[in-house]
């Protein structure tokens, strides 16, 4: 490698170091290749994993040597980046994302629903309180509907029609479904995330949505349209409102974690609550896609009678209950 010749400005140590590093380039290249293969999930051979681990130690040694002898060098920058990538690959959790999603539905979801059953009851109670308050307000002071509904909507109802009557003549079902899905998923995420304001944001969302629903039903009732509104709402509404109530419970859990972190720091408690209660939101949001489709294709279509709507609404709600309680998943497992 190095000979006794000592050229201008180049120490023997420097030459030896260059020689050593030159000999390591191939190992680094191999390490990069192994990282790529592991990350691509193509190879799960144990000897390759062991080779990656050995290579990782080698890179750490090279880095520490380079730091001592070549401070500020680009070799260090490269080796640090390589070491971090190897570290990342080695520390990666064994489960892939799909397996995590499966686990979310089969294990985490029923567990978290059970853990948050108290919060779900409170969230539902708040929502019902909002409905009662909205109903009461508009029943006692009919002009207060102006706070909750647009002028056009009020005018339509006063003319003895529902704003949902001509819906399909204005927008196609697909666009309607998409609008509703986007809006409902947003409301659900808001109900959850606003829990970060010590739960107050979530309380506000739950009460406000209840108020709106109660007020609108009271107002349509005054014009004898509440039966038809119920007919419009029933097919999609049960799952839609249930998901929002459940997201509200998840949001309240965040607030509770911030108010009463227990033995953890506030940030830790908040994070644990996010990852546990967030499971409910992650599972609930996809259900809103189905609810949106029902609201776009079935609810505004006058060809479907009340019985069919009730059947759709109840079946979808039952499906949600089975999914959230874990019964659906365990049945599938035992069948397979």
């Amino acid at each position: 490698m190095s000979d006794e010749r000592n050229a201008v400005g180049v120490s023997l140590e420097g030459r030896a170091l260059a020689g050593w590093l030159r000999g390591r380039v191939e190992a680094w290249r191999r390490q990069e290749e192994l990282i790529k293969r592991q990350q691509g999930g193509r190879v799960r051979e144990s000897d390759e994993a062991l080779e990656l681990l050995r290579g990782y130690r080698g890179v750490a040694r090279d880095l520490s040597l380079a730091r001592r002898l070549l401070p500020g060098s680009r070799v260090i920058r490269y080796l640090e980046a390589l070491l971090l990538r190897a570290f990342d690959t080695i520390q990666r959790p064994p489960l892939g994302s799909w397996a995590q999603i499966r686990q979310l539905f089969s294990r985490d979801l029923p567990r978290e629903i059970h853990a948050l059953r108290g919060a779900i009851a409170v969230s539902a109670a708040l929502f019902l309180l909002g409905i009662a308050a909205g109903w009461g307000l508009v029943s006692l002071q009919p002009e207060l509907i102006a706070l909750f509904a647009s002028e056009a909507m009020i005018e339509t109802v006063q003319n003895g029609e529902l704003w949902t009557d001509d819906l399909l003549n204005i927008v196609p079902s697909s666009v309607l479904s998409l609008q509703i899905m986007t809006n409902n998923i947003m409301v659900t995420f808001f109900a959850f995330a606003l829990g970060a304001f010590y739960g107050i944001g979530t309380l506000y969302i739950m009460l406000l949505n209840g108020l709106l629903l109660g007020a609108v039903f009271a107002f349509t009732g005054q014009h004898e349209l509440d039966g038809r509104l119920f007919e419009f709402v029933i097919a999609h509404g049960m799952v839609e409102l249930s998901v929002i109530v459940i997201a509200g419970a998840a949001g309240m859990r965040l607030g509770e974690a911030l108010l009463r972190p227990g033995l953890m720091t506030r940030t830790e408690a908040f994070r644990v609550a996010v990852s546990r209660a967030g499971v409910l939101v992650a599972a609930g949001a996809p259900l809103l896609v189905g609810a949106g489709l029902i609201e776009g294709y079935i609810s505004p279509d006058p060809n479907f009678d009340l019985n069919f709507r009730l059947l759709v609404g109840l079946s979808y709600w039952l499906f949600m209950l089975l999914l959230f309680s874990g019964r659906l998943q365990s049945r599938r497992r035992s069948a397979s």
Partner: protein, 240 residues
């Protein structure tokens, strides 16, 4: 305020990951939102116009024009951050990457959480809340990052290719350079066009004189000849 997280690697070797500040994060976001909005609008209006031209109406407009546009707009961040290992095109351009507090690639759960909380970080508008929180929080984390346990760090993009030639043995009968000198030369040559001519000339002369070499005579194509001399020196040949 330079901050970093320390990764404790094997054998007591530690590596620092510098945390990105508000400037880098904001610029990456501005790049991303432009890509997001332009692609979503281009798809929505482009396909909408096309369907209208060929006479397709009604339900198809929703599924073919509106749905993909919404998906591009809403799934841009979560999907790309997941598929690109904590990066988006904007973050990549700014040399940034999302990592967990342990310095690892975030999982799907953490990515979903930080994107759901985007809703409140962007309140009341233009990410005011997120910016204020990130300004005052440790490691410049917005609410979404605090909730997900993630942070944004600068990513070293140096490839093995950039070390090529650094450890080469000197050729027959040629003077050798120390690693440090080689590196300086490589750095100067790489950045040659980005430097002002007088700066790069001054640096080139310093390097040549340190090797006891005479720079080429000034005159026609001085810049190019100076560069060739440096290249020759790096490749092992001395021009005397």
């Amino acid at each position: 305020m330079e901050e970093a997280i320390t990764i404790h690697s094997v054998g007591g070797v530690e590596v620092e990951l510098p945390v990105a500040g508000l400037g880098g994060r904001s610029l990456a976001f501005i790049i991303d939102i432009h890509i997001r909005v332009i692609f979503a609008m281009a798809w929505g209006f482009g396909v909408g116009w096309f369907l209208n031209e060929v006479g397709i109406k009604g339900d198809w407009i929703g599924w073919l024009a509106v749905l993909p546009a919404l998906l591009i707009y809403f799934l841009y961040h979560p999907l790309l951050e997941w598929l690109m290992g904590g990066r988006t095109p904007g973050k990549r351009m700014m040399g940034l990457r999302i990592v967990t507090e342990q310095g690892l690639t975030p999982g799907l759960g953490a990515i979903l959480v930080r994107n759901i909380f985007r809703l409140i970080d962007s309140m009341p508008s233009a990410y005011v809340l997120g910016l204020v929180v990130a300004h005052f929080s440790a490691r410049h984390a917005r609410i979404g990052d605090i909730a997900a346990g993630t942070l944004i760090t600068y990513e070293e993009a140096l490839k093995l290719k950039a070390l090529e030639g650094l450890f080469d043995e000197p050729g027959e009968g040629r003077a050798e350079l120390s690693l440090k000198q080689r590196e300086l030369l490589m750095e100067l040559l790489e950045r040659w066009n980005g430097l002002l001519p007088e700066r790069r000339h001054a640096m080139a002369l310093t390097l040549l004189r340190a090797r006891g070499l005479e720079p080429p005579a000034k005159g026609l194509k001085y810049d190019g000849r100076l560069r060739t001399t440096l290249k020759g020196l790096l490749e092992g040949g001395e021009h005397e």
